[in-house]
Symmetry: C2
Subunit: 245 residues, 2 copies
């Protein structure tokens, strides 16, 4: 009855199986972001379903932020604009309250054994090696954040072959184009601490000054952890904005 194959769990509702199938098409790149995905009528025919079922599957993907519909034009894979993705994952504001795009500069890349809490957060075995980045974020040439980033080698091996000068300003779109890893959500924890010698040096502030510490675990669409990150910023120029819904 299905010309399309929908191999997934037989127990799941039809529209969920179609949803999974569509996620496949998106993540493997079979459906291109610049082209509309097949129309409802086509999907209906391909998979032998009713329109309502197809619509339900698309509803779910739209709700999840993977697709967006354009009446009269078609349904498209959602490319979060650089602005939007930036605002989602970089919530600092300048002292005047305006939003600025921070520059990103990778200082070092190494392959080493992560500390235990990083390995645990990323779901890695304690002994394996992972990719570690040191990175600065700057606005108008001023350092606002010093970052330490850990990435699983299995997903991000491609990064080891790229000179660190060639890393893009924004990492998440970079992960996507170079490694096919898309960050879908994240959890952040903020605390305040005093700068130790190392952090003070990197941020260019006096030792003992208060700093904000942001720990972030970023997840992919499959809810698997992709990146662990700890950022330090000088507390006195720091603003962080959150929408609670």
């Amino acid at each position: 009855m299905n010309s399309g194959k929908l191999a997934h769990d037989e127990r799941l509702p039809l529209y969920q199986r179609l949803r999974d199938e569509m996620v496949e098409k998106i993540t493997t790149g079979e459906w291109r972001p610049d082209q509309p995905i097949p129309t409802e009528a086509e999907l209906t025919k391909t998979y032998g379903m009713a329109v309502g079922t197809v619509r339900k599957a698309v509803d779910v993907l739209v709700a999840e932020g993977l697709l967006e519909r354009n009446q009269g034009r078609g349904t498209f894979i959602r490319r979060p604009s650089f602005d939007a993705s930036l605002f989602r994952f970089f919530r600092h504001l300048t002292s005047e309250g305006g939003r600025k795009i921070p520059e990103g500069r990778v200082l070092a890349r190494t392959l080493e054994s992560p500390p235990e809490y990083v390995a645990a957060a990323l779901g890695l075995s304690a002994k394996g090696k992972a990719i570690r980045l040191e990175r600065l974020r700057l606005i108008d040439g001023h350092i606002v954040l010093a970052e330490e980033i850990w990435l699983p080698k299995s997903r991000f091996a491609a990064l080891l072959d790229i000179p660190i000068e060639d890393f893009d300003n924004l990492l998440y779109p970079f992960y996507e184009t170079r490694c096919g890893q898309v960050v879908a959500s994240a959890k952040e924890t903020l605390t305040v601490d005093s700068a130790d010698a190392e952090v003070a040096r990197r941020l260019g502030i006096a030792e003992g000054k208060p700093v904000v510490v942001i720990e972030r675990l970023a997840l992919g669409f499959d809810r698997k952890p992709l990146e662990w990150r700890r950022s330090h910023g000088a507390a006195d120029t720091f603003r962080y904005q959150v929408d609670i819904c």
Copy 2:
């Protein structure tokens, strides 16, 4: 064709008009939180619509967090559990990382002219008066936050007749039962500052110590501002957790 009246904008889709109608029933209390709302079949008959349309309206309300469905039992008005609402709006963690319910204690209630930025945030005329609360939040008897809260008199007049000792531990459920005002979302901004004499006294810390400042604007389901709040907390014991989606 409609035995139910659906007075709203004639231009809106049917399911949107039904949604609005249902919001009415919820906010006016015609539908009680402890009873299931009418079944899909009943709504179908009452408003002369197809099941699919009714389901669509309910889908929207579920997505908005106003209703929750229970297969086999019925559809209910969502009473966000105390835990859930607490976790949504109070994101501090204890030093051990666990979540604790903070005690709330109102110290003072006055009716006065708000500063200009508060009036602007709440959409009030500059000259009118608003309700101002001073409040402490405590965990295990220790002060963790000192809060200054502003509320529009028009919506919260009922609070003026209640002795401040009788204010509940959690304000948002209290607003709901006493004033019929439901907080649906909020925007928070975090910064770090040094404690001035006043804040130091309230928090019981030394003057000049770093403090976290949280400014929050809480909105109702109608997106109108309900509450402006500024909280101060000692920076060294502070943790704040955010999910970015």
